[in-house]
């Protein structure tokens, strides 16, 4: 940027953008934090400084004689979904990106195939979720297939409205979040490095493991952050694909809001946000995001 003679006033162009973030990002999140210490009754929220909302969340959690408390149970289940989804999106996303970056030679085809992966991201998530119903339902295609081939004696109930269908939907919806940053990292790899490894006698697997994967680390980290945070705060996918039976933190907040227990919802939101930020903080220790664009 050394040669660019921009006037200092060009920074003023960021004001409208900043205003949106001040008004719809900084203030709302600050208010959420403040209100998490407020009191409430059936109709209104009352300014106060109490810790009851937090205490209620962890009620029974430190009592080890009883079963594990609801809060920990919900977080555990959410972490499980995070981990399984992360695992599958990473494997699938990595190999799709790998194919696009190294096996598709013409730029035009690269763009076309990349777009093919991206287009579903621009369509409705709800529709993409319910489109699994005719496949996985009790009378769905998968069950028809299993019954007609004799692989199962009765319709399989675990296919839909279960942990399985939730993970399936997450992978279906969010693998793109892995593909894009990993593909971006791969496109920056100097092809001559791979050539050099090959000339030195490395086989395909060695090149993949010792050259490509280490160089893709930033992409993998960015993709992982996206997938993990989106699953952490989810309440819609888990709601629809879990048949409204499986708990999640997002769902707790959603339900508390519908009962107008706003300070309680705010306390849950603060904890969720803190945990999410902690995960991101650990992951960004590994890379500098700004260099990756």
């Amino acid at each position: 940027m050394k040669f660019l003679k921009l006037k200092p006033t060009v920074g003023l162009l960021s004001i409208p953008y900043s205003l949106i973030f001040i008004f719809f990002f900084f203030i709302p999140l600050t208010l959420t934090f403040i209100i998490s210490f407020w009191d409430y009754n059936e109709y209104s929220i009352i300014p106060d400084f109490i810790f009851e909302n937090y205490a209620y969340i962890f009620k029974d959690c430190l009592n080890f004689e009883k079963d594990i408390c609801v809060t920990f149970k919900t977080y555990l289940s959410t972490f499980m979904f995070c981990f399984i989804t992360w695992f599958f999106t990473l494997i699938i996303g990595f190999f799709v990106a790998y194919f696009l970056a190294f096996y598709v030679n013409s730029i035009t085809w690269q763009i076309v195939l990349f777009l093919l992966c991206t287009i579903p991201f621009w369509t409705s998530n709800v529709i993409r979720m319910i489109s699994w119903i005719p496949l996985l339902g009790r009378n769905g295609l998968v069950n028809d297939f299993l019954l007609s081939t004799g692989l199962a004696d009765e319709p399989q109930e675990w296919l839909l409205y279960s942990g399985f269908s939730i993970v399936l939907a997450f992978v279906h919806l969010y693998t793109l979040f892995m593909i894009v940053p990993i593909f971006n990292s791969m496109m920056r790899i100097d092809k001559s490095i791979i050539e050099a490894a090959y000339d030195n006698g490395a086989n395909g697997l060695q090149i993949l493991w010792n050259v490509i994967i280490p160089l893709c680390k930033p992409g993998i980290v960015i993709g992982s952050i996206f997938v993990i945070t989106v699953v952490m705060g989810d309440f819609i996918t888990i709601g629809i694909m879990g048949g409204q039976q499986i708990p999640s933190i997002g769902k707790i907040i959603y339900v508390e809001m519908s009962y107008l227990q706003l300070p309680a919802a705010a306390a849950n939101a603060v904890i969720l946000l803190a945990l999410t930020l902690l995960i991101i903080w650990i992951m960004t220790k590994m890379i500098d995001i700004r260099k990756e664009l």
């Binding site: 040669f3 953008y17 949106i20 319910i130 090959y198 409204q244």
Partner: protein, 289 residues
């Protein structure tokens, strides 16, 4: 070399095709099922072929007022699109130079993408609730008739709803601008300036035509992400729901293929917008030569 067409290549091709099938297959099934006859159900086999369920959707049978939700979503999508383009392009220009608060703003941009949507939605809802209380307090304290008689809420599609959606679309817009300017050849701009062009003229005649195709990309993100947005909008839309919110409600109540017909219609809208955007992009690239 890697691009030699050996066995691994074909395994990769096969894997990729499988992935594309996984991406599009389910959507294709509901499009197929939405063209069933009147006796059709939610699953296969297909009971005849007709456009019955689309007519049913059009009549509004058994479904809430989908037409107006649809209209609201389109209008909001267009407004979000225009604002996303204007604000992220201008912020992108500003970010080419370090300015006061630029690091914080960049942090907020990235943070906004990863903050759980329900948390943001809750925050905006709380903010507007306090704003309502404050307005009512103003009305009663200073005896402002207009507020006392007519004021209901500040929460609404074009206030809180619009803002919440912008926190989702703007980061995509700004990140696209970053990617554009990282690869931008500044010598054209320098040349224009050396020839005596004003900053505005340089932008209009040189920079804008060069970044125009990317602006189409930002517009595409702005519209489609708003049109399908659900999590951030869920608490802040006030009285009128957008289409995705209605759709989410319908998943638990509707048990006829009418929901598939609706799915087909919204997917068709999304695909049309994507198609038009890609066509514009190619046209602009070609025009530039």
């Amino acid at each position: 070399m890697l691009n030699k067409k050996n066995k691994t290549y074909y395994v990769c091709v096969f894997f990729f095709c499988l992935f594309v099938l996984f991406l599009y297959g389910p959507t294709f099934t509901i499009v197929l099922l939405s063209f069933q006859g009147p006796d059709g159900g939610l699953t296969f086999p297909l009971n005849g072929v007709s456009t019955y369920w689309f007519e049913e959707l059009w009549r509004g049978g058994s479904v809430v007022d989908i037409g107006s939700a649809f209209k609201r979503s389109i209008i909001l999508g267009v407004i979000v699109m225009v604002l996303t383009v204007l604000l992220s392009v201008s912020a992108g220009l500003a970010f080419r130079k370090k300015f006061w608060g630029s690091d914080t703003l960049f942090f907020a941009t990235v943070a906004s993408l990863i903050v759980p949507s329900i948390v943001l939605s809750l925050g905006v809802a709380l903010q507007f609730r306090l704003l309502d209380d404050f307005t009512k307090w103003l009305g009663s304290t200073f005896d402002i008739n207009y507020i006392n008689e007519f004021f209901q809420t500040t929460l609404g599609m074009f206030t809180s709803g619009l803002g919440a959606q912008l926190t989702w679309t703007l980061p995509f817009g700004l990140l696209i601008m970053f990617a554009v300017f990282n690869r931008f050849d500044k010598s054209y701009e320098e040349a224009a300036r050396d020839l005596g062009a004003t900053p505005w003229k340089t932008f209009k005649e040189v920079v804008f035509p060069l970044i125009a195709p990317s602006i189409i990309g930002i517009a595409l993100f702005g519209f489609t992400l708003s049109y399908d947005e659900l999590a951030r909008s869920s608490q802040v839309m006030g009285a009128g729901n957008t289409l995705p919110l209605e759709l989410k409600g319908l998943t638990t109540t509707v048990t006829t293929p009418v929901i598939y017909a609706l799915g087909t219609v919204t997917t068709f809208v999304s695909f049309s917008v994507i198609g038009i955007s890609i066509a514009c992009y190619i046209w602009l690239k070609r025009k530039r030569g």
